[in-house]
Symmetry: C2
Subunit: 534 residues, 2 copies
């Protein structure tokens, strides 16, 4: 593999460092002009990006474009899409895998970047289409001959957050009478609460686990199977699986169907693979699922646009680098002005922080700068009545990515005080970006707004399957570009291992598998005892 | 009013600054001993706090205790509870209000700190008790004589997040057949989705707004009233209000009942006032509501304990100051190992960030240090499969407050691989605190865990109405103590005003209320146009 360079190693870096000492001042008179707003704007795959309210100017944008070229970001993205082994740490044992989530939706151009991976996925989608048809036509039913109307997805992490956030976003597009629930936490109350809501007799249970051995998922599967059996239902007739090839979940005696997920697709990038597709196909129908995949594919293509000023994912990535690595803001808020996107920040939290929360380069060296930020967010306008006080007047500067839609999903709205709710929503969205940028002086210091708090606006006409797919792919590409800049492996997650090992140590202590001598010096035992758990 | 001193102005400050240069190293052999774990522990109001996994030692704890004394934190807390006007900025126009959320639950000792406020609240609770009895006995029904079984709470910010997070936490304690929904966002899709879920004929709508003029709430009220009328239902028979005295919502012709909220209780501190009580009383019953209030009252009392090492809220506050103001960590993660607490971090986001996201002291001077951190969180174990990678191996250090319970709420659990789900949940919780603290070396740099990442454990036997009340009050007190340290007014929210003003400007532009000349130079118009909203 080529030796890739971190952004700190290329000529653009010192220049950008210098520019970052005096970032564009949004609070000066005539800083934020109509001309600037019109120029700092680009469009792709159904989205418009407005970034005039960033602390950036043409010179810094040129510097970022040079940095992108010098780091060969687009070349790396194309290599990723075409199947280069990007999930690796050179010189050390690592996962050594391709990174091919984009292949799951590369179904529409006729010339996919990774033909084999796309063909595999297309075959799984065809199996899904047939299965959904059989459900629709009553060829597959429960033992009493009733159609299935509900799906519980059992999975955790990437098998939960991505699919769940997409489902929540697209509830307005559900097939009549179909719905989905999610079961993820090992907390037994999560399962108890979910099982109270569904009629198990007409429920399909979709177990999603690549290895088939994830502790939480295994536990919740067992729990749901017991609940099915307790109602006299045959689990093998109700359970599906999405799993890696060769896993114990590929077992026709125990599962009505098993669909495949592949090693080249990481959990947090898997929402557009069968990990999301089975549940989305069931609840939204095959047509909406294909629209979702087509939206994602369109954004993947848009991410290969060479001109920074016309490439939304790359621009989002580099503005993020500018804010985090050059201006030093430690967090990023993603604030969707759409209640349907209420779980999207939680998905991004995984996708971004698990990908780029790293301290080691792709060559096993400590990174010289900060890597991924803390990402958080809640829907607006709710957030305005919650934490926006800190955004406007706090001592922590929080860059914001606003997401909004010009039209709502349901055709229900009303005029109050001369405007519709949808108009109020958009007015609030734009007002927040403006207020954060320009601030406001006041003789009363407590009513002063310092301004110069960067934000950007991501806008589309409506939250549809296609724009949801594009939005998902936009952030996946952004995260990959940022990882390339920092020269880290955005596709592994070694940082979750130690907790698993220690949890097992606690569990064996709880089971009494340690003698008295060991206990007296054991930190684990002391924690269990002081926590009054044993 | 006394002149209060910020923590930077008292003698303990320089000493703590010095100690913070070499914080306790958790990764050294024999740093985290059974003895330390046993000593760094305290208990109050049903909770145990374990803080051995903080980067703190006895000397720094002594310094913090001195700082607390020198800043007179407990005296300020007692003054707050007894009705001193704490919501003010000296020398400038400000809200000039008492801060008496603690009075809402000071019902159990026989000698309340603020007798008048407590008597007012007790009278409202008595009105609520009578109303609930009338519902129970069928004296109040819908026009068809059917009992009400559902409540939609319409409110935003403090009228939504606190009550909703408590309701979600206590679903296991719902009265049979009773449930609640929440409507907050001005996004019309939020209302459409909620109205699809309920049978309006048997639904009470609880409109919560202190002024009766909050735009989102007014809009959603109108929308729900239209939906009621469209089904031939009389809104006056279905709508309740919780509102300030003299507000337009105190109108028996339009509301079945109006309950009072008082100026001395800020929105984000109002979950234990009628803002939460009406919905909680309806859905959980009066007995559970009183248990919830009693738990909160117990924690309020515990917050007056003079010895830092026995005062959980004060310890939480000062460890937070240590991590944020002395060690410089910009964010705080609150991670409950309980799915039922899944909305509690969102409530804390408002309660903490709206309170302490300030830049001006109580004397109108710019603060010399950072104030409130960015607070975020999701339930474990889900988070472990999401963003914990960054917590363990990222370049951002994130102090963590873990919350856990020894027993689950529902009596449903099962043994898989030798342990129950509840045991797995606790094992994971303890394992994460330990892993973050001590880390682990490895020849493979990508498998190295640096450790020294501070966390604490808040543990109770079970999440019940009483422990939920205590948990709510614990964080309210913590936030107040921190505001006192930073010498800021934690009880106003001037930072939300500018956005409101600008939103109205956008709305008038959308309605065409500006002439062409103005438009050409208007930044607002340019934003609307480039956003393709008009």
């Amino acid at each position: 593999m080529d030796r890739w360079q971190a952004f700190t190693e290329v000529p653009a870096y010192p220049r950008l460092r210098k520019l970052a000492q005096r970032p564009f001042d949004l609070t000066q008179p005539h800083s934020l002009t109509p001309q600037r707003i019109a120029r700092y704007r680009c469009s792709a795959a159904g989205f418009d990006l407005l970034y005039a309210t960033q602390r950036i100017d043409d010179e810094a944008l040129d510097g970022l474009q040079q940095m992108a070229a010098q780091c060969r970001l687009l070349e790396q993205f194309r290599q990723m899409r075409s199947g280069t082994v990007m999930n690796r740490i050179e010189g050390f044992p690592s996962e050594e895998r391709q990174v091919l989530h984009t292949a799951c939706r590369d179904l529409f151009s006729g010339h996919p970047s990774a033909p084999l991976a796309t063909a595999q996925e297309a075959a799984e989608l065809e199996r899904l289409r047939l299965f959904l048809e059989q459900l629709q036509q009553g060829q597959i039913t429960n033992a009493a001959g009733q159609p299935f109307d509900t799906m519980i997805q059992v999975g955790i992490g990437g098998s939960d957050l991505g699919p769940r956030s997409v489902y929540e976003a697209l509830q307005a597009y559900r097939l009549a009478g179909r719905n989905a629930f999610f079961l993820s936490n090992v907390d037994p109350d999560d399962a108890a609460a979910t099982l109270r809501k569904v009629n198990l007799a007409t429920t399909l249970v979709n177990i999603v686990s690549k290895s088939g051995t994830t502790l939480e998922t295994l536990t919740n599967e067992t729990l749901v199977r017991q609940a099915l059996a307790a109602q006299g239902l045959d689990p093998a007739r109700h359970c599906l699986a999405v799993t890696g090839q060769g896993s114990p979940l590929e077992n026709p005696a125990r599962y009505l169907r098993s669909f495949s997920m592949f090693d080249s697709i990481g959990g947090r990038y898997s929402a557009s693979s069968m990990v999301g597709a089975v549940m989305l196909g069931f609840s939204l129908g095959m047509e909406n699922l294909m629209d979702f995949l087509a939206g994602a594919a369109a954004m993947d293509t848009a991410a290969e646009e060479p001109e920074l000023r016309q490439n939304i994912p790359l621009m989002l990535a580099l503005l993020g680098i500018w804010n985090h690595s050059f201006l030093g803001y430690p967090t990023l808020a993603v604030l969707p002005y759409s209640q349907a996107l209420h779980r999207f920040p939680a998905h991004l939290q995984q996708c971004d922080m698990e990908s780029n929360g790293k301290s080691i380069s792709r060559y096993g060296e400590p990174v010289p700068t900060k890597t991924g930020p803390v990402l958080w967010g809640e829907p607006g306008t709710n957030g305005q009545h919650a934490f926006y006080q800190l955004l406007h007047q706090g001592t922590e500067i929080v860059p914001v990515e606003f997401i909004g839609f010009r039209h709502n999903q349901y055709n229900q709205d009303l005029v109050v005080a001369g405007t519709t709710s949808q108009q109020k929503l958009m007015a609030n969205l734009l007002a927040q970006a403006l207020a954060l940028a320009v601030g406001q002086d006041n003789a009363n210091p407590n009513k002063r707004f310092p301004g110069n708090r960067p934000s950007l606006l991501l806008l589309a006409d409506r939250l549809t399957p296609a724009t949801m797919g594009a939005l998902l792919a936009l952030y996946e590409a952004k995260i990959a570009f940022q990882g390339f800049c920092w020269n880290i492996n955005s596709f592994d997650q070694e940082g979750v291992q130690l907790g698993k090992v220690l949890a097992n140590r606690f569990l064996s202590l709880m089971q009494g598998e340690q003698d008295l001598d060991e206990r007296q010096t054991s930190v684990e035992y002391a924690l269990l005892k002081q926590a009054a758990v044993i």
